[in-house]
Amino acid sequence: MTTRKITSEWILEPGTGKAIELLKGQVLRIEQVEGGQCADFNCFNLHDYKEFMHCGRTRTVHGFHPTKGTFMWSAPPRERAMLYILEDTVGRNDVLFPRCSAYVYEAAYGFSVHTNCHDIQAEAQREYGLTPDDVHDSFNLFMCTGVDADGHAYMTRQTTKAGDHVDLLALMDVLAIPNVCGADVMKTSNFALKPLKLTVFEATEADLASVPTTPVLASQRTPKDFKNPVIKSDRGLRRDPDYRPEFPNTPIVLTELPVALTAEEVTMLNAVKLTDIYGDDDAAALRDILFSWWEERFLQAHAGAPAIEA
């Protein structure tokens, strides 16, 4: 067994969360103490809190249950791999559900005060000057969820045991905030709130070597690339009288491309064109065929997902 160089350890008690400075090359282990406990998780760039983890991009790239061998990505326009899931002894995490909130417990269960992930995250993040509005969509560790035939997300009980853990390797300096999910009247954590153990240790050379290389692209923009790099510091919205729109690649201009089809090609077009969508507009049907073909032949990622292999 590998000896880990441990930097720090905490026991995260029920109802609490902890903001942890996790530096590039360090690993945060979130571990079951008794088993059966969901952990919600937020993550910010330690040096620029406006870059934060984005469940939307993460689930598009890695599916609804990201596990060992996947990344947590930051939101556009940053879209960088922030953390790498180095180990996951369970393999059942969730990026479908939002954090539970006071509203849920008041509206559905009648509680005036109840432990909830939003407020726990906000209280933990307050140590670093963040406000309740800064809490973002959470990555839910150990949460057992799915999608039913009607398209609704559901959650059910988990089967985690003491010692089960997820190891998150920081690929940049981050503020990592795990919390014990406050849900004790839902199936999320099998109807009981239990502690979680947190350990920070240094990644080994082998750990670092196991991380796939991700792209470095011009589209991954930082404030130096923004037209307005200044963080707005008041709450009201007022129009900038000097604003002139500069949308890229506008205006969109159409060009007509005549294509001469042989009789045989016309037969092919008639056989495969999508008449229910394009009617008798053969030009639109042929354009669809062109770009559908392009996707099939040249696109490596799932449609709508970016390529993540460097």
Binding site: L257, L261, E265, L286, W293
Partner: protein
């Protein structure tokens, strides 16, 4: 030979993707790329239908 002219309406971004594909040597020009796409797309659909009808 009997030819049918189909006039595709393409914007500058779609043309850029086509031109980058042409630059890889996939087809000699834009019209040829469209015809190649049609032939390959139709062929793969035909193969699919043949495969699924069994």
């Amino acid at each position: 030979m009997n030819e049918t002219i189909v006039k595709l309406r393409l914007n500058q971004q779609q043309l850029e993707l086509m031109d980058r594909t042409i630059a890889q040597g996939v087809a000699p020009d834009r019209a040829a790329l469209v015809r190649l796409a049609l032939r390959e797309y139709a062929a793969s659909r035909k193969a699919e239908t043949a495969g699924s009808s069994r």
